[in-house]
């Protein structure tokens, strides 16, 4: 049993094998979940009890502590998903494709949260829940790309073919991410420009601190959720593999 996993010295590439990655992910999930919980408590404490009321927007701006983290994670996760999907496509590595599949639902939820919180922030500040503005529309397209990826994968029975079709869709959709990011520069939009950019920030320090802590909280949550889902996907796809049967007999699933 252990001869499979302990062969030929240490290499990060050995983690590309689902049977090696499965237990590693199992140890990482609670760690990242704990980090997410601790950072959320700290971030929300800063956001609601240390950060002052905004001079222009009043307390409506406090939506920023979940809106920006969700929006950033929605974009970031898409790029990571497309990266792993393309690695799976190019090198035929099963775990890479499973990773892409594991990221999609969490990415879609992040995109939805960014749209939902954006709508509830837009109403008091712009007077409308929704406008067909470049930033909002391209984020809606991001949500549809995630949903399309999930639907396409679910529609194809042969898992490896589903991975390849999904990878093509994910790669084509990557073009949308820089469009979202630069939309506030390229077009006249209602959405404000980037508050945080290289070389400085237009926000008060304590507000920025709370937002950054929440970005890390969402990041840690996303890692925990994706790894937990990846473990289930590994089990679903490899349920007839000997290592799965052996691990169950040993109570190590």
């Amino acid at each position: 049993m252990s001869s499979v996993t302990a062969s030929s010295g240490f290499s990060v590439f050995r983690y590309a094998a689902p049977n090696v990655f499965y237990p590693l992910a199992g140890r990482l999930v609670p760690l990242f979940a704990l980090l997410a919980a601790v950072l959320t408590v700290i971030g929300l404490y800063i956001g609601f009890f240390l950060a002052p009321t905004d001079a222009q927007q009043g307390d409506s701006y406090r939506i920023i502590f979940i809106h920006v983290p969700a929006a950033w994670m929605a974009m970031f996760l898409y790029v990571v998903m497309a990266f792993w999907a393309s690695i799976g496509l190019a090198f035929n590595t099963r775990l890479s494709s499973m990773m892409a599949q594991a990221i999609a639902p969490t990415g879609a939820l992040m995109a939805f949260i960014s749209l939902w919180t954006g709508a509830l922030w837009g109403r008091p500040t712009w007077g409308a829940y929704w406008v067909w503005d470049a930033r909002l529309t391209s984020t809606l397209i991001l949500l549809f790309l995630y949903l399309g990826f999930i639907a396409l994968q679910a529609a194809i029975d042969d898992k490896r073919r589903a991975d390849k079709a999904g990878a093509v869709l994910a790669l084509v959709g990557v073009i949308n991410v820089p469009i979202i990011y630069f939309s506030v520069k390229w077009w006249n939009t209602l959405h404000q420009g980037a508050s945080v950019k290289p070389g400085g920030s237009s926000m008060a320090d304590i507000m920025l601190t709370g937002m950054v802590v929440m970005v890390f909280a969402f990041w840690m949550y996303a890692i925990a959720a994706v790894l937990a889902r990846l473990r289930s996907i590994i089990l679903e796809r490899e349920r007839r593999a000997q290592w799965v049967l052996d691990a169950r007999e040993q109570g190590k699933l």
Binding site: F48, F49, P52, T53, G58, D59, S60, R62, I63, I66, H67, A70, P105, T106, L109, F112, I113, W116, T117, L120, W121, R123, P124, Y221, A225, A228, R229, R231, S232, I233, L235, E236, R239, R240, V244, L245, R248, L253
Partner: protein, 58 residues
């Protein structure tokens, strides 16, 4: 404490509906995702064939 009272905190300077509407839905989504992940894991574990299934046709 900048809020003074729990009422003021919940009111969010008149933006309570928008702020709490954002946070509540976000919380519901994360709880639902964690719940779905647990269910998926349980289902995945249940799909693994038992040794006792070996004799029977699949």
């Amino acid at each position: 404490m900048q809020w003074g009272s729990i009422e003021n905190f919940l009111a969010m300077g008149g933006y309570g509906f928008f702020v709490w509407g954002s946070y509540a839905v976000t919380l519901v989504i994360f709880v639902a995702e964690i719940w779905a992940l647990r269910n998926r894991r349980r289902a995945a574990l249940g799909q693994i064939p038992r040794p006792s299934d070996a004799g029977r046709s699949a």
